[in-house]
Symmetry: C2
Subunit: 223 residues, 2 copies
């Protein structure tokens, strides 16, 4: 049996990933303070790794720092979502065009599997997770580290927003699900065709298409 490389994972990284999952999952109510001593006690580490993780999370937009230095879970406003959406309209076309240039067959297979899974999605949480994974694959296949960094931050913030709006457990309408499946399939095919320009424009239309959906969602916070 070939020995696999032993990689030591720093506590700061563990804390970072664990905290980001917890925040996105809604374990901390929006606006709540995350005090370093309590986090340290909960996670069983000292404050140093906690602080380093919090700095990383702040730059990813999952926490924010008070003027007094207190760490809080940001309460995402409609304005925030508009910012995120505008960024995605700018970035998704780039991701799609890069994918059209660089994607290999295994990427296509993964995307197809993702679309197939999306057809069985029941809740908004399901479809949102699958949608995130779908675009994750596309962005990663583009092999642009700056793009990946930017995208992952936006993705996490969208997930956080979904949680804060309490939309995760909402059942998804057949129409919305079919819409995502269709547009994802279109996107896959244009990426597979290998035409960057066409992929970019289609991706742009795809994201921009959500523009009229978002206000209606924000207008119905919890029903």
């Amino acid at each position: 049996m070939p020995l696999s490389k032993v990689r030591r994972v720093s506590l700061a990284h563990s804390v970072s990933s664990q905290l980001s999952r917890a925040i996105v999952a809604g374990d901390f109510p929006a606006g709540s303070q995350l005090s370093e001593p309590s986090l340290a006690a909960t996670l069983g580490v000292s404050r140093a790794p906690i602080r380093e993780a919090l700095i990383e999370l702040e730059l990813r937009g999952l926490v924010e720092f008070d003027p007094q230095g207190h760490t809080r879970v940001p309460t995402l406003t409609p304005a925030d979502l508009q910012e995120i959406h505008a960024m995605r309209v700018a970035i998704d076309p780039l991701a799609a065009s890069l994918a059209a240039e660089h994607a290999t067959t295994d990427v296509f297979a993964a995307l197809e599997a993702n679309i197939a899974a999306t057809k069985d999605a029941k809740t908004l949480a399901d479809v949102s997770r699958l949608d995130a994974e779908f675009h994750d694959r596309i962005v990663k296949s583009g092999r642009n580290r700056r793009l990946m960094l930017c995208w992952s931050g936006l993705r996490d913030q969208v997930e956080l927003w979904l949680t804060q709006m309490q939309l995760r457990h909402q059942a998804i309408t057949k129409r919305t699900r079919q819409q995502t499946v269709d547009s994802h399939y279109e996107l896959l095919e244009v990426i597979r065709s290998g035409d960057p320009k066409q992929a970019a424009t289609l991706a742009g239309d795809h994201v921009a298409g959500w523009t009229d959906l978002l206000p209606t969602v924000t207008a119905v916070p919890n029903s």
Copy 2:
């Protein structure tokens, strides 16, 4: 005299800004290790603020972490510059369109002053600094914090790249300078006109126009 707000600046923030300036200025050769003890001794602080600053700089792309955890100044390759350029092609149109929507008269004044100063630029360092300030104003006027964060990271990395290519002290040709002045003026006018779409397309053409310039520059590292 109205008392200005006393702002407590954390050491970590001071270290961060000071280090980023030093790195961008080329005080550390590309690929050199930044050991925390020596930085701490040099700056007269303990390692804790150093570490926190380094984490921030890593996410901004000004340093990178070895597999062994050592902090090093990244050696930007042509591939890195292509990544950055691709991101700017995606992002600058958004910045311009947002500016066209939100910019106020004082922004226009600042941009005009910047263009005027650019006409007197002597070296590539001058024109690059003024260009960065120009786009800084535009991005800031768009009032999108995510965009601002993304842009500032790219900007710093471009500055670092200029330093590493030893292009800062190179005299600028009249033609290049005039080209920058012209395109900046065009951009200012279309933003002032308030048409987001037109501003976006012009900004996109503007950045994309540098595509054929970059290879020629990279082909002539130090002459």
